[in-house]
């Protein structure tokens, strides 16, 4: 099937690839059938999308990742995460430093 946003994943779908976090740590093995509990768990541990088995017609296709796209996603995600906590100047500095680091990383990938 392909990439499916975790928010669109449905119980019953089968993972074709291992679900990993950003550091590459295994969260859920391929071949596992998703349940409501583990979808909610994957969401809460920040997994943005899952690779679902071919032939699973109920799955909604998500856009395949590209470094530019994930760079933008990451920036949006960072802004969302820091929303409402930027009152302290130290938090502004942390936010700016992480955005800068993110730009260096995506240049590294390209």
């Amino acid at each position: 099937m392909g990439w499916v946003f975790t928010s669109d994943a449905k119980p019953g779908m089968v993972l074709e690839q291992d679900a990993l976090n950003r550091q590459g740590t295994l969260l859920l093995k391929s071949g596992r059938r998703l349940t409501e509990e583990n979808i909610s768990m994957l969401k809460s541990w920040g997994v943005p999308k899952l690779w679902i088995e071919t032939g699973d017609e109920t799955a909604a296709r998500a856009e395949s990742p590209s470094s530019a796209r994930s760079g933008r996603d990451r920036k949006t995600e960072l802004s969302a995460r820091f929303e409402g906590v930027l009152e302290h100047p130290a938090m502004v500095a942390i936010f700016e430093a992480v955005c800068k680091l993110e730009r260096t990383r995506s240049r590294g990938i390209a």
Binding site: L42, S44, G84, A90
Partner: protein, 283 residues
């Protein structure tokens, strides 16, 4: 009785069932509080436990420490790293291994959690070094343990934990807030109770118990503040996952207890980001 204190009571009553530290590690933590203990005493305890010895030698020979020559004896490791560092290294690796035994699906997400704990441990150490804090290894352990209450929730309150995780993902709130609504107590309080049951030093108990609100403690506020900032930096760098997607608010009182310049934050973040991979391979 309020539901929260009833739950904490339930945990403490079940202390006998709580994960226990290896006897040698308990012995080592007792030595911590004994100013007369010597490096030789410490070496004696470590070498009496093969697993600890192997773990220690593996760590000191890892790229994280980067010593040019191979260290093949416990005494050699103690001479190179120092008494305090060894003591905290052993405590950390033992705690790490205690919870990382594979145990099927229920724990499938714990790796991400450990990455967050390890990142926070490293961050606390980096922040401590910048502050010229003397016992940075102690801060490392505090960072490693700060969220240990979440493990207790997974193991002892699985139903409540499911509800907490559901609340977190549906409403995008901090796990702390979901816990207060569902359990009536936080992972910080549970973690502090566990650290107390393990008879860990009061500094660690306070740092774990107050890492979200360092201003609320009279004792060891500085240590709690270091862990508080370390947690925020790890979340900013996306090292592992603390279980929610939110960023905690920086406690202004805690910040004032840290001798850190705002301008230094960028290089601190760079140092943590670069050091994380090495550390992960080492442990």
């Amino acid at each position: 009785m309020k539901p929260s204190s009833r739950n904490l009571d339930r945990i403490i009553r079940n202390v006998a069932d709580l994960p226990t530290l290896p006897a040698a590690v308990l012995h080592i933590t007792q030595i911590v509080n004994n100013p007369k203990a010597s490096a030789r005493d410490l070496a004696g305890i470590i070498t009496s436990d093969q697993v600890l010895t192997a773990r220690l030698l593996r760590l000191v020979n890892s790229s994280f420490y980067g010593f040019p020559q191979k260290i093949s004896t416990v005494t050699g490791a103690i001479v190179l790293l120092g008494f305090d560092a060894i003591r905290h290294l052993l405590l950390s690796t033992s705690i790490f291994h205690l919870f990382s035994s594979p145990n099927g699906d229920a724990r499938f997400h714990l790796d991400a959690f450990w990455d967050h704990s390890l990142g926070c441990a490293l961050a606390a150490k980096v922040i401590g070094s910048r502050m010229r804090y003397e016992q940075v290894e102690e801060l490392f352990v505090a960072g490693l343990l700060h969220d240990i209450g979440k493990i207790i929730e997974v193991l002892y309150f699985p139903d409540e934990f499911q509800q907490i995780a559901k609340g977190v993902s549906e409403r995008n709130i901090l796990m702390l807030d979901a816990e207060m609504q569902i359990l009536g107590l936080s992972h910080a309080e549970i973690g502090a109770a566990l650290a107390e049951a393990w008879r860990l030093p009061p500094k660690l108990i306070q740092a774990v118990g107050f890492h979200h609100h360092p201003a609320d403690t009279e004792h060891f506020r500085r240590e709690a503040a270091v862990v508080h900032l370390a947690d925020i930096l790890c979340r900013a760098l996306d090292l592992g996952s603390g279980g929610d997607m939110r960023m905690p608010c920086l406690d202004a009182v805690a910040w004032d207890h840290l001798d850190i310049e705002i301008a230094a934050l960028e290089s601190i973040l760079d140092e943590i980001d670069a050091g994380f991979r090495d550390l992960r391979c080492a442990i």
